[in-house]
């Protein structure tokens, strides 16, 4: 398999660079600098030190024995990105880009955020590297994620509410790009996922691929074999690409990405761009996109603000078409069940994003065998989602109230 993207940032027909001319110089600069720093041992060493001593890498791979016993099929392992500093894999990318911004001589970073995880991780990196930080966030998300908004402010970031469009991540991204166009010479755009114009999809993938590299060496070292399946949730797709990428050439490892089906694929309220969308252009890239018959972008919906995005990283679009990764969908309700299951059986509260990957297990794992291994990327912890989860359970969206459940002693 040849390495992707090509020099202009294309993954097959996807990716590329669809931006106003004003940004070309900055993107060229970024592409050049990133190429140099990729091979620069001092930069890599510095980054490694931050990832280890500051973010807490490597993160463990935990065998979820109770969960495995519950299903009675393949052994389930969790890659614990939820244990990273700031509570999700997002910090891998923000530390790397923060360091890069500093090397580029930029004094200011702008970022978009949906759930607020990338916003918090960006504000955190800005503290570490002494950068000014501005975070754009949709008004609706500001209401849903009040805790993260306050955290960003404590970290010294300026949070700017976005009132336009659907007032969520898509619009926050538009606004962050507009800010960057206006301040391109002093500012680095710290994009939080494997989306946007070249070089972001490739660069963020590289920064996140540490997730997959660690997973791979864990299994080779301790199990002398690779897992049979890797499962991860896909919004923009940064945790999943980071998890999958080092395994792409391992043909025997099956890769499954889980999209948010929201209230159902037959409703308009979902975020399954790969499953229900078609090729289109948004935020500087060509990729699968949720759009109406006129090519206007449709708002996405998911209970998880982090998956609430109408497009997806261009490499995922390529991997879908090539068949290397299978993409499945999980509804809000199934995700809440996944959340509940992991919380009750393993004492780990997952974020609602990886709860989608967990929700998928229930439907799918009976197809696996007992001697097989499933590795699931637990991309973040659930603290930020507790109010949303509580609201959903109190409304009775997913089965019984978790507090009323009878504890199964033999599992504890």
């Amino acid at each position: 398999m040849k390495t992707l993207p090509d020099r202009a940032g294309h993954f097959g027909i996807y990716g590329g660079r669809y931006v106003p001319e004003t940004l070309v110089k900055a993107l060229e600069e970024l592409t050049r600098s990133y190429k140099l720093l990729k091979k620069d041992r001092k930069f890599q060493e510095e980054l490694r030190a931050y990832l280890e001593d500051y973010a807490g890498r490597p993160t463990p791979v935990y065998e979820a024995k109770n969960l495995t016993r519950h299903f009675g099929r393949a052994r389930i392992f969790l890659k614990r990105e939820d244990l990273c500093h700031t509570g999700a894999h997002k910090i891998n990318n923000t530390l790397a880009q923060g360091l890069l911004a500093k090397k580029l001589g930029k004094r200011r970073i702008v970022a978009e955020t949906g759930a607020g995880q990338h916003g918090v991780a960006s504000a955190t990196a800005a503290c570490v590297f002494g950068l000014e930080c501005v975070v754009y966030m949709g008004e609706e998300d500001i209401e849903r994620q009040a805790l993260n908004v306050y955290k960003m402010k404590l970290l010294g970031a300026e949070v700017i509410p976005v009132h336009s469009g659907s007032r969520t991540l898509k619009d926050a991204t538009n606004e962050a790009i507009r800010d960057w166009v206006a301040n391109v010479e002093t500012t680095h755009y710290l994009l939080g996922s494997v989306v946007g114009p070249h070089p972001y999809p490739a660069m963020v993938r590289d920064f996140q691929s540490i997730i997959g590299k660690e997973t791979k060496s864990f299994f080779l070292k301790n199990w002398k074999r690779l897992p049979d399946y890797l499962i991860a949730c896909v919004g923009g797709g940064s945790n999943s690409i980071g998890f999958f990428y080092p395994f792409l050439k391992e043909r025997k490892v099956k890769l499954v990405g889980i999209e948010a089906a929201g209230q159902g694929l037959n409703t308009k309220r979902h975020a399954a761009s790969l499953t229900k969308g078609s090729a289109g252009i948004l935020h500087g890239m060509k990729s699968y996109l949720l759009q109406n018959r006129d090519g206007q972008v449709e708002p996405a919906h998911s209970i998880s603000a982090g998956l609430d995005y109408p497009s997806v990283g261009p490499e995922h679009s390529y991997l879908k078409d090539s068949g290397r990764v299978k993409y499945e969908t999980v509804t809000d309700r199934e995700a809440l069940e996944g959340f509940k299951l992991l919380t009750e059986l393993e004492g780990i509260m997952p974020a609602l994003e990886p709860s989608h990957a967990l929700g998928f297990l229930k439907r799918w794992i009976r197809k696996t065998k007992r001697n097989e291994i499933v590795a699931l990327c637990l991309s973040g912890r659930g603290d930020k989602d507790i109010p949303a989860v509580r609201k959903a359970f109190e409304k009775g969206i997913s089965g019984s109230d978790p507090g009323k459940r009878k504890r199964n002693r033999e599992k504890v």
């Binding site: 931006v19 004003t22 090729a279 996109l289």
Partner: protein, 266 residues
């Protein structure tokens, strides 16, 4: 038939005049208004029309054009409305060059060949796609060439010399110079480095240069007229439409004032 944009440029060059290009959002506040307005501003001294097709995510645009786009989309504006409107104008004998301005996604989704054939047939003369660089989506430039539609590209203050040359070569009719770093929208003052930047790019571009972004007053128009071959005014016109309460006359009056200032008639 010669492209109307080229015809207009040649006419202006012969008379030593400047070109005034007026931007209006299609269907804001309504389709009949847009139609009436184009006829009026064509008579008020505009030399070209940039007809802005609304998009859900106009990332090169500031609040004014965002607002007008959202309003037009709420009314359900579609491509077929753009085609029909221009077709009607042409049938009525309105011969002003009309440039389709729109983001790439609706065009891509509609189908590049089909789209270019349709806008040509309707009577459009050219195309500006603000999120399309000359390096991407080659089939669109091929289709435009085939149809005799001018594809106009933008040069920004940040564009490096080598790229300015490339864009000058690729852009047809004229080159659109973005006066500032930022999105569209009326500004009180012009960017202070316009003169410096223009003297850098002028020797690299043989085609006429029209300046756009942020131009809002007759003073701006006059100042830029001295530095370029013409100007493009968008947000300031759309803002006038918003305030005009559904009347085209005040908007046409503003266009007249701007065009006269540009052409040194005040």
């Amino acid at each position: 038939m010669q492209n109307r944009i080229l015809k207009q440029i040649k006419r202006a060059q012969k008379q030593g005049g400047k070109l005034f290009c007026a931007f209006v959002t299609l269907g804001y506040p309504s389709l009949p208004f847009t139609e009436k307005l184009i006829e009026k501003i064509a008579r008020a001294g505009a030399d070209m029309i940039e007809l802005g097709f609304p998009f859900s995510d106009p990332l090169a645009d500031g609040p004014t054009i965002q607002f007008s786009s959202e309003a037009a989309l709420r009314r359900g504006v579609q491509f077929k409305d753009a085609f029909a409107l221009v077709k009607r104008l042409r049938r009525k004998g309105c011969e002003i060059p009309i440039i389709f301005f729109g983001y790439l996604n609706p065009i891509y989704h509609y189908g590049i060949e089909r789209f270019s054939a349709k806008i040509k047939e309707a009577g459009f003369d050219g195309l500006i796609v603000p999120d399309l660089l000359p390096e991407e989506e080659k089939p669109l430039s091929r289709a435009c060439r085939l149809q005799g539609l001018y594809q106009i590209y933008l040069v920004a203050p940040t564009t490096e010399t080598k790229r300015v040359r490339l864009i000058a070569r690729k852009s047809q009719g004229f080159v659109y110079y973005v006066s500032l770093r930022g999105v569209t929208g009326a500004r009180k003052a012009l960017a202070d480095d316009i003169r410096k930047n223009l003297s850098r790019i002028r020797p690299l571009i043989k085609k006429p240069i029209l300046i756009g972004f942020g131009i809002s007053s007759p003073e701006h128009a006059k100042a830029l007229g001295a530095l370029s071959d013409g100007i493009i005014v968008g947000s300031a016109i759309v803002e006038k439409i918003r305030k005009s309460g559904g009347r085209a006359e005040p908007v046409a009056g503003f266009v007249k004032q701007m065009a006269r200032a540009l052409k040194g008639k005040v």
